[in-house]
Amino acid sequence: MPHLSLDTELIDQARTRARNIAVQVWEQVSSYTTTTVERATLRLFGVDGVNDQGVPLPNVVVDHLHKKGMLGKGAVYPVANAMRFHGITAQEVALRVAGGSLHLDGVPPGDEGAVTELAHSLAEQACAAIQAKREEKNKLVERLGMGEPPYLYLIVATGNIYEDIKQAQAAARQGADIIAVIRTTGQSLLDYVPYGATTEGFGGTYATQENFRLMRRALDEVGEQIGRYIRLTNYCSGLCMPEIAVMGALERLDMMLNDSMYGIIFRDINMQRTFIDQFFSRMINAYAGIVINTGEDNYLTTADAYTQAHTVLASQFINEQFGLLSGLTEEQMGLGHAFEMDPDMEDGFLWELAQAQLVRQVFPTSPVKYMPPTKYMTGNIFKGHVQDALFNVTSVVTGQTIHLLGMLTEAIHTPLLHDRYLSIENARYIFNNMRHLGEEIEFKPGGRIQKRANQVLCQAAAMLMEIEAMGLMQAIGRGMFADICRFPEGGKGLSGVVPKTADYYNPFTELMLSGKLGGR
C-alpha cells in the first residue's frame, strides 16, 4: 500500500482530544434515558406487534409509563414486576396494557431481588439470541466467503420490499458484496418503527423488522447460489436508532448506518436525544458484531470538500471515540468520507488521493466507507461515468474497504436496473485492472500529495483542540460541521429525553458492555 509520512504525534494528540470530547458528552447525557431506548429494551424482551390503532406495542407501553411519570426508572422493572405478579410474558403485559386491562402503576410491588433476577435472566436470553445470530453469520461467512475489498456496496430503493428483493438479488449476481436498502424519505423523523412487510415508500423502503427478515432471507438465498455471503445494510439513524439496532441484531443485519451527529445536523433531531440514542444503539450494534458506517461524507454535500476536508477527519476521530465508548471495536467502524471535490478544480484528483490515503492511514484497521461523487453529478451520464471511474481508481489504489458504488445517473433518479449493472461493470473493471497499483506507488516526499495530507491533519487537530475547549454541543451550535448550526434545546425528539431516577434499571448495559464501558 502507498504510504504518507504523517506526524504520528499529532495523530495521537488528535485522538486524545477526540476522546476527551466524547467523554465530556457522555458525562453530560449518561444520567438520561429516552423513550426509544426503553422501547428498544422492551423489543429485546420480546415485545412486538401493534395495537388495534396500528401503534407498535413498545410505544404503547413506554407512552403508558411516560404518562404516569414512571419512565425514569426504566421500562424493564415495571414490566418485569407485572410479568412476575401475573405470571405472564412481556408480550402479554404489553397486550394487556394496550387493551386497558393492566395499569403498570397499579401492580403491587414484588420482591426487588426476584424482579431483577427475572429481568436479568430474560436479558440473558435476548443476548444469547443475538449471539446465536452472530454465530450463524460467522459460519455462513466461513463457508461462503465474502469477496475482497473494496467491497461493492449497492443501494436498492424501490419503496416495495418485494421489488427491492428482485433488484438486490440481481445486483448480487452482478457482483455486489453489500446491499443497502435505502429507507423511505421521512422515516428518520417517525418516533416509532412501522410494522410488517411494506410495499409503498418514497425514495426508499420502510425499515421494519419483517422487511429486514425478508431481505435477509433473499440475500442468503442468492448468496448460496453464487457462493458468496452478501451483507445487508440498513439505517440505524433518526428518532428510533436503538430500536432499529435491536431489529438488525435479531434479523442478522451486517452493517448499519449509525452516526453520532448526522441526525442532529441533517435531520434537526435534538442533540441530547441523539447522543443518548447513538450510545445505546452502538452498544447493541457492537454486541451483535454489526459494522457501523458513519456519515461524514454528508458534510461534503453541504460544505466544500477541499476547504472543509479537515472537518471530516475531525468528525471521524470523534465518531471513533464515541464508538469505542459504546463497546465497538475499530474493526466495526466504517468511518465515512467521500469523493466530492469540484471536478473543475486543477489537481482535484491529487487532493482526493491525499484525503483517501490519509483516512486509510489514520484509521488503519477501520473498514473505511468511501462514498462516490454526488454533488457535482450533473445528468451528463457520460461524464458521470468518468467521474465514478476516478473515484473507483482512488478507492482501489488507497485500499478503501466499503465502496459505495457511484451511479452514472446520480442526480437524475434512483438507480434503474441497468444503471446498477453499468456501474458495477465500471468498478469491477477498474478494481481488477489496478488491483496492485497501490503497492507500486510511493508519494514524493515533500510533494503536493504529502503536503496536502499533512495540512488536513494539522487543521483537523487544531479543530479538535478548539472543540475540546468549548464542548461538542457548543461546536455544533457554531456550525463547525457542514456549516449547519444546531442547539442543545432545539430540534425534534427532546420530549422523549427523560432523567433517570436513582433506581434506574436496565440489565443490557452491564450484559453487553460487561463492564468495559469506554474501557475506562
Partner: protein
C-alpha cells in the same frame, strides 16, 4: 401569417442522418428473441436501421440493450413556443441596490426542500453564504433575509413559516423524485398557500433538475428554474416580479 416550417432532426456525422442512441432493459432473459424484440421496439419508436450494438444478460430474467439507428421523425421549429421566466439578470450588488430603491427594507426569502425530498444540494446552492460555482448564495445579500429550512419540510410548516416571517418569496426545491412524487408535493404546497390565503402576497418559485418554467407555471408557481441557475437569477426574478405586482 403562417410561419415557414423549419425542420430539424438529429445529426450524427452528416446532415439529417437522424442518428440516435438508445439503451434500455427488457424483462426477458437474454436470447435471440429478446434481442429482436429490442430492435423492433426501436423501430416502433420511429427508428429505422435500428441495430443492437451491445447486449448483456443482467440476471433474474432481465437483459440490457444498446442500440443505434436513424430517427425518421422531424421537428418543425416554427411550431415551438418556449415559455421562460421574463426578467433581466442583475448582479448581487445590483440586486441589493434594487431592493434598497424599490422597497426600502430587507426582503425575506424562505427556502426549503419540501415533503419527501431530503436532498438539499439545490436549495443550499441558492441559499447558503458560499453559493455554488463562485456565485454567492442569498445569505450573502445585504438586503435579503435568507432563511434556509433544509430538507423534508412539510407544506404546513413552510406555509406557517411564511406567515410568521412575513416572507416575500418562497423558494422550493425538488431534487430527487421517484414516480413523479415531486408533482404531488408541489401541488400540495400551492393548495396549502391558497387555503391560508397568502398565495397572492408571496412570490413562489421552484427549482430542481427536473423543473422547467412551463411546468412550474402549470403547477401554479410564478417561475421555475432548472439546472445552471444561480442565486442572482432567482433573486433578480423575485425582485422584478415584486415590482411588477406592485408589492411593497
Amino acid at each position: 401569417m403562417q410561419a415557414e416550417a423549419v425542420r430539424v432532426k438529429p445529426y450524427g456525422d452528416s446532415m439529417n442522418d437522424g442518428m440516435v442512441q438508445l439503451s434500455f432493459t427488457l424483462p426477458l432473459p437474454l436470447s435471440e428473441v429478446a434481442q429482436e424484440a429490442a430492435r423492433r421496439l426501436a423501430e416502433q419508436m420511429g427508428i429505422t436501421e435500428a441495430s443492437v450494438v451491445h447486449r448483456e444478460d443482467l440476471g433474474q430474467g432481465f437483459s440490457f440493450f444498446i442500440l443505434y439507428g436513424r430517427c425518421t421523425h422531424w421537428v418543425d421549429l416554427s411550431q415551438i413556443a418556449v415559455t421562460r421566466a421574463e426578467y433581466t439578470v442583475m448582479s448581487k450588488d445590483e440586486i441589493d441596490n434594487f431592493i434598497g430603491q424599490h422597497f426600502g427594507r430587507k426582503l425575506t426569502f424562505i427556502g426549503a426542500c419540501i415533503e419527501t425530498d431530503a436532498h438539499t444540494v439545490g436549495i443550499d446552492a441558492i441559499m447558503n453564504m458560499k453559493g455554488y460555482n463562485g456565485h454567492k448564495g442569498l445569505e450573502s445579500y445585504h438586503q435579503i433575509n435568507a432563511i434556509n429550512l433544509g430538507a423534508q419540510v412539510s407544506s404546513e410548516e413552510l406555509a406557517g413559516r411564511a406567515i410568521r416571517h412575513h416572507a416575500d418569496a418562497l423558494l422550493v426545491s425538488q431534487v430527487v423524485t421517484q414516480k413523479n412524487v415531486h408533482l404531488a408535493n408541489l401541488t400540495r404546497l400551492v393548495d396549502m398557500l391558497e387555503a391560508e390565503g397568502i398565495r397572492e402576497r408571496i412570490v413562489l418559485v421552484v427549482g430542481g433538475p427536473r423543473i422547467t418554467h412551463e411546468l412550474a407555471k402549470e403547477l401554479g408557481y410564478d417561475a421555475g428554474f432548472g439546472p445552471h441557475t444561480y442565486a442572482e437569477h432567482v433573486a433578480s426574478f423575485v425582485v422584478q416580479e415584486m415590482v411588477k405586482r406592485g408589492m411593497k
